[in-house]
């Protein structure tokens, strides 16, 4: 399965890690955003199959960016990336339409498992 993925994270380290995981699985990372502000515009341009979205980012949070993307495309598949202990934020994100979430620190297979499940047509 070939997937076009967009990664939104303010930390370069996390972006690179996620990018490596995607590429090893044969997925194409078509866009990267380092802030919530840039996310919507990039989503419009690339219409990726899947977005990974860090929840906590400076300025515009991942949840706000998620809301903007969902308003733009209700069928968007957004997977939230969250640190341990941010359950209430994750819940908020799910209520805002996130398809699933991954808790840091994560293992490679865990990330791919969630991505594959989210891509199952429903």
């Amino acid at each position: 399965m070939s997937l076009n993925v967009m990664i939104v994270d303010d930390a370069l380290f996390m972006r690179n890690m996620l990018k490596d995981i995607c590429q090893r699985a044969g997925y194409a990372v078509v866009a990267e955003a380092d802030s919530g502000e840039a996310a919507l515009e990039l989503y419009r341009q690339h219409r990726p199959d899947l977005v990974t979205m860090d929840i906590v980012m400076p300025k515009r949070s991942g949840i706000e960016a998620l809301q903007e993307i969902m308003a733009e495309d209700p069928a968007a598949r957004v997977v939230m990336i969250s640190a341990l202990g941010q359950d209430t934020l994750v819940i908020e994100a799910i209520e805002a339409g996130a398809r699933d979430f991954i808790i840091k620190p994560f293992k490679e297979e865990r990330v791919l498992d969630v991505m594959r499940r989210v891509m199952v047509p429903r």
Partner: protein, 647 residues
Amino acid sequence: MDMSKYRDLFFSEAREHLAQMSRLLVALEQAPADRQTIDALFREAHSVKGMAASMGYEGAAALAHHLEDALDHVRRGGEVPVALVDRLLAGFDLLEGLIDDLQADRPERDIARFLAGSAGSRSLPEAGPDRMEPPAPPSPGTEPAAVGEPAAAPAGDLPTVSVGRVYQVTVELAVDVAASAARCLLIVRELERAGEILSLTPSRETLRQGEECRRVQAWLRTEVVRSELGRTLRAIAEVRKVTFADDRRTDGGRRSSEAGRSVRVRTELLDQVINLSGELLTQRFMLQRASGARDWSELNGSLTDTARLIEELHHRSLQLRLMPLESITGRLPRLVRDLGQKSGKQVSFRVIGGGVVLDRVILDALADPLVHLVRNAIDHGIAGQGEVVVTARREKDLVLIEVSDNGRGMDPAELRRQVVARNLLSAGQAERLSDREALLLVCLPGFSTARQVTETSGRGVGMDVVKAAVEKLGGTLDIQSTVGEGSRFRLHMPLSMAIIKILLVRCNGLPLAIPLTRVQRTLELPAAAVLEGTPGRAFRLDDAEYALHSLGELLGGASGSGTDGGKDLCVVVIEAPGRPAGLQVDALLGQRDAFVKSLGFPLSRLPGMSGATIAGDGSVMFIVDPYHLLEGGGLPARYQESSHAVL
């Protein structure tokens, strides 16, 4: 406000009111001036109106209001005219049908015509929803409808009728799941996509607050089939297990349409159950302490107390399922009235022992058979004038329900003749039947479908269905009849289907359970007392001859587990089709209470296997129903290999 959680309660209460109204209407017809009956009817209609309006069932509320108004009107007039009784009866039927529609989630039947009919009738005051004061504020757009078209407006505004099946879904998460509440919310979202969530544990609010949770349980009304929903749910990350269940032990899922139905329980009984479980909690700590201290005498004492508590709790929990017989006899007076009127017979009707309680599964399943029996009593039993009585009473572990009439009665000789004439039995077979067996011929399917039954020869309508229903529930049907005096149809039913008393026997080296309700007695029979003959072995007891079967052989085991060695035989005398019979077993092991687990397919198809229970050592023990086993002549050959493997 979300009213869906009150739905079950509404229907269970509405049914009680309807049953009461049905009784009262028949009473009203007999005593049209009885003020108390009119008052009681008025209150019933009033209750239904208020409940229906609260639920937003505007059609039902309007109709109930209409009936209430009519009753209020006659309350002032004194006596109820005959025409009005008929109209009230018709209105009541319509209301009952409407409640059926609502409960089954199908489009509501038209009541506008009925209500409109009243506008021209002088005996009824005009009534419509305009004077209703529903406790819930009416939704915008629900203008009070004009008389003459009252139902049209509410019907259009009713919420979309939901369809589909109701079942329970349980989703369990992996043990080490992170952000479990969020994960549960994902599951809830999928459930919502699939259908309407009727109830949810834990609640959405609890989940939103981030409470840890590894298990979501929901009652769902959905058109999505289980396998499909299961696939969707299992596709969610961290989901470990998805299980489905209906409301209760299902007959192969046939009862699923009734899933979600509720039972009303006396608060007192509920309190007792809660108290007992509380005591058990305390008891657990005492057990833990005693075991920690290795104090054996303390441990022993605590165990005894625990056993007592568990038994008590068990007993009380079983009572939660019991309901009085009168909960299903409510509609019978009306039935008798209508049938009497139709056939031009004068029939009086009584229920004796309506307070006798039975498991509600059994009651539910008995409702139709009872109607059949009462109908038959009027159609075929009563000639011109007579009485039909439904009697219930406890007889040891059983409940006897009897439908009797003082009509023509049935003639066994005539029944034998009929059955031969219809080629259902040979003349020789018919001659060998005892009178008791001959009366049961009316339960033969071929007999039942014969429409032209002579007046004295019997009543066949649906008796095979009645018999099958009774036996499926673990009961027996027996018929007594005397020509010229009347007939009694006697149903012996178990009290409960979940817990039964069993007799433990050993057979082919394995323990087996036989429901005690099927056992008349046990005995040790000297080998010399066995009479060898054709068609098989027999023995005499108290001047009667009983056929002797080997349970082992019936179950497909080796034959010849017989009289060798001249030792005494262990024999269980059981209820069998027609007449009691003896079952030879290897040993009698004792009695106990057993919690019945129903068998899944394909085991459920084995004739004579009515379920299984868990023995004290944790092993599975099958419950054999000898009645069915003998009826079918034992397990057919094609089952024998598999039954061996199972047993």
